[in-house]
C-alpha cells in the first residue's frame, strides 16, 4: 500500500514549486558538480596527454618528424613553458582555464577557443540530429511491431539487436556504397546543404536506435500489460490510442534517462563518422590533436565535450521530469545528482 507522499496545495502552485525545485538547490549542486567535473577532466587529460610519447614542441614546429633547428626548438620550448617542470605547466594550464582561456594550439597556429567554437556547431548538430533520428527510428519500430503479433515483435526486437551491433565505420561505408555509389541519391561527404547530413546522421542514429529500442521495448511491454492500459481499453480506446496516449510515454522514460549517456557515445561515434564523411567537427579535431600531441586542443575539446555532456544530462533530467510529472520520491539517494 504505497501511499502518495505529498499532496500539493494547488495545481498552479505546484508547477511553480516544481520549477523552483528544479532550478534551485539542484542547480547549485549541479553547478558545483560541473565545475568539479571540468577540473577533473582537464587534469586527467593534461597528464594523460603528457604521458603519451612524443614531443609537443614538435607539434608546434610543424608536426612530428620535422627537421627543426635546435634554436627553434629551444625558443618554442621557452615560449610555451615546455621547459618548466610538468607540474608547473599543469598549474599554468589550470590558471589559464580558470580565466576561460583555452590556450593556443601547438599545431594549428591558432587559439583553441575559436577553433573549438568553430568545430562545435557541426558536431552538436550531428549529435542532436542523430539523437532525434534515433528516437524516431526506435519509436517507429516499437510502435510498428507492438500489437501486431509475435512475428512482428520478434522482427522488431531482432532488428534492434542487429542495429545495436553495427560498427559505425562499417555501417558508414555500406551506406556510402549503397546510397551514393549505387543509387547516387546522397552525397558521400559533407556538403553545404542538408543532403550531406543524411548519411552521417543515419550512421550514428541506427545503432543508437537499436539500443534505445531495446530499452523502450521492455518498458513498452510492461506498460501495455498494466491495468491502466486495460482500463483505457475498457473505455473504448483503440490500440493506437493506447499506444500513443499511454504506453509510449512510459516506454520513453527509461530511454530518456539514457539519452545523456547516448549523447556521450554519439560524440565518440563522431570521431569515426566525421572522419569517414569528411565533416568538420570536434571528433576529427580531437583525433588529429591527439595524434600530434596537441595538448591544449585535446584539453579544449574534452572540456567542451564534458560541458556539452553535463548540459545534456541536465536537459534529459528536465525532459524526464516533464515526461514524468510524478514528484520524485528518492530525494535521499546519496550522490543523487545523477
Amino acid at each position: 500500500m504505497a501511499e502518495p507522499l505529498t499532496v500539493a496545495r494547488s495545481s498552479g502552485g505546484r508547477r511553480v514549486r516544481r520549477l523552483g525545485v528544479l532550478i534551485g538547490w539542484p542547480l547549485a549542486r549541479r553547478l558545483g558538480g560541473a565545475v568539479f567535473v571540468l577540473w577533473a577532466v582537464a587534469t586527467l587529460t593534461f597528464f594523460a596527454v603528457r604521458l603519451i610519447p612524443g614531443d609537443p614542441a614538435e607539434a608546434i614546429l610543424g608536426g612530428p618528424g620535422s627537421q627543426t633547428s635546435p634554436e627553434a626548438l629551444a625558443a618554442v620550448r621557452a615560449e610555451y613553458g615546455l621547459d618548466q617542470p610538468v607540474f608547473l605547466q599543469y598549474l599554468a594550464q589550470l590558471g589559464r582555464l580558470a580565466t576561460g582561456d583555452l590556450g593556443r594550439s601547438y599545431a594549428l597556429n591558432m587559439d583553441v577557443g575559436p577553433l573549438v567554437l568553430s568545430q562545435l556547431g557541426g558536431t552538436l548538430l550531428l549529435a542532436v540530429l542523430s539523437l532525434t533520428v534515433a528516437w524516431l527510428l526506435a519509436l517507429g519500430l516499437a510502435t510498428w511491431s507492438t500489437g501486431r503479433g509475435a512475428m512482428a515483435r520478434r522482427i522488431g526486437s531482432g532488428l534492434e539487436i542487429v542495429a545495436a551491433a553495427l560498427p559505425h565505420f562499417w555501417l558508414a561505408t555500406t551506406l556510402i556504397v549503397v546510397a551514393s555509389v549505387w543509387w547516387g541519391i546522397l552525397p558521400p561527404i559533407s556538403t553545404a546543404d542538408a543532403r550531406g547530413l543524411v548519411l552521417p546522421v543515419l550512421t550514428l542514429a541506427i545503432p543508437l536506435a537499436g539500443f534505445l529500442g531495446q530499452v523502450m521495448r521492455e518498458s513498452l511491454t510492461t506498460a501495455l500489460e498494466s491495468p491502466f492500459v486495460l482500463s483505457a481499453r475498457a473505455r473504448g480506446e483503440s490500440e493506437r490510442g493506447v499506444l500513443w496516449r499511454h504506453a509510449l510515454r512510459h516506454a520513453a522514460l527509461p530511454a530518456i534517462g539514457l539519452s545523456g549517456w547516448a549523447f556521450g557515445s554519439l560524440i565518440s561515434g563522431a570521431v569515426v563518422v566525421e572522419t569517414v564523411f569528411a565533416r568538420p567537427g570536434l571528433g576529427r579535431t580531437l583525433l588529429n590533436a591527439v595524434t600530434v600531441r596537441d595538448v591544449p586542443v585535446v584539453i579544449g575539446v574534452v572540456m567542451v565535450v564534458a560541458l556539452a555532456y553535463i548540459l545534456m544530462t541536465i536537459l534529459t533530467d528536465l525532459a524526464s521530469r516533464l515526461a514524468d510529472p510524478r514528484p520524485t520520491t528518492n530525494t535521499r539517494t546519496p550522490g543523487g545528482a545523477q
Binding site: 577533473a40 577532466v41 531482432g158 560498427p167 565505420f169 591527439v290 565535450v305 546519496p334 545523477q338
Partner: protein, 264 residues
C-alpha cells in the same frame, strides 16, 4: 527454449568451436598468403573469397574468432571487474566513498569513451592487449553505475531488512544477501557487453589502434577490407557479419539468461 534461443545457442557453440579448435572448421593456415589469387570473390574453393594478400577469408574469420572473443570477453571482464569494484565500493563503504566514486564516475562519463580508449592506447602503445584494457576501461563506468544502483536497491530491500531482524552481522548480510543479489545480474550484463566490446575494438582497429598484423582479428579484417569496399565487398562483409552475429548471439543469450533468472 524458443527458436531464437536455440539458434543463438547453436551459433554460440559454433563460435566457441572456432575459438577453441579452429582447425575443426577451417583446416587451412589463416596467414598463408597467395598474392596471385588476391581479391578473389567467394567461390567453392574460397567460401568467403580471398583478401588483398590472397589469404582465405573463411579461414581467417574462423581463426579470428579466438582473438575477437578473447578481446570481447577480456575487455568485458575488465570493465565488469572494475565496475564491480567501483560500484561495490560506492555502495558499501559509506557515504564518503560513495560520493568520491560517484564524482569519479561522472568524470569518466563526461569523457567520451573512445577518447579514453585512444589516450590509453597512445600511452601504452597499440595492440590487442591495449585494446582490451582500453575498451574495458571505457565501459567500466557504465557497469559501475549499474552495479551501484543495483546495490543500493538490494541494500534497502525488504529481505535485507529481514536479515537484520534475524540478527545477521553486517558482513554476513553483505556476503550472503547483498553481494550475491547484486552481482548475479552481472552475468547478463557481461553477455550483453561482449558483443559491444567487440564492436568497440573494431572501431579502434579502424583508427589503426587495434590488433596488430597479421592477426586475423575481425575488427582489423573489417577495417582492412573497408578500403576495398567498392571492389571486394566480401573482404569487409564477412568479418562484419561475424561481429554482428556474435553481438546478436551474445545479446540473445544474455536475454535468455535474464528471463530464466527472473522466473527462477
Amino acid at each position: 527454449m524458443n527458436a531464437v534461443e536455440i539458434a543463438a545457442g547453436l551459433l554460440a557453440l559454433l563460435l566457441l568451436t572456432a575459438a577453441i579448435a579452429p582447425q575443426l572448421l577451417a583446416p587451412g593456415d589463416p596467414l598463408a598468403i597467395d598474392p596471385l589469387s588476391a581479391f578473389g570473390a567467394p567461390s567453392w574453393t574460397h567460401w568467403f573469397g580471398t583478401d588483398e594478400s590472397g589469404r582465405d577469408i573463411y579461414t581467417r574469420v574462423i581463426d579470428g574468432a579466438r582473438d575477437s572473443l578473447v578481446i570481447g570477453v577480456s575487455a568485458t571482464l575488465i570493465g565488469l571487474g572494475l565496475g564491480a569494484v567501483l560500484g561495490t565500493a560506492a555502495g558499501t563503504l559509506g557515504a564518503a566513498v560513495d560520493f568520491t566514486v560517484n564524482r569519479f564516475l561522472e568524470v569518466l562519463f563526461a569523457f567520451p569513451g573512445l577518447l579514453l580508449a585512444l589516450l590509453f592506447i597512445l600511452v601504452f602503445g597499440p595492440g590487442a592487449g591495449s585494446a582490451i584494457v582500453a575498451v574495458g576501461l571505457s565501459t567500466a563506468p557504465g557497469y559501475a553505475r549499474i552495479i551501484r544502483a543495483q546495490l543500493v536497491r538490494v541494500r534497502s530491500s525488504a529481505f535485507v531488512e529481514a536479515a537484520t531482524v534475524q540478527g545477521l552481522s553486517r558482513a554476513r548480510i553483505l556476503g550472503r544477501h547483498i553481494l550475491p543479489n547484486t552481482l548475479a545480474p552481472l552475468l547478463v550484463l557481461g553477455t550483453l557487453g561482449v558483443g559491444q566490446a567487440i564492436v568497440w575494438a573494431a572501431a579502434l582497429s579502424y583508427l589503426g589502434l587495434g590488433a596488430q598484423p597479421p592477426a586475423a582479428e575481425w575488427g582489423a579484417m573489417l577495417a582492412a577490407g573497408r578500403t576495398y569496399i567498392t571492389s571486394a565487398w566480401w573482404m569487409s562483409f564477412f568479418p562484419g557479419l561475424f561481429i554482428v552475429l556474435t553481438a546478436v548471439c551474445a545479446t540473445a543469450l544474455g536475454r535468455a539468461i535474464e528471463r530464466r533468472m527472473r522466473h527462477a
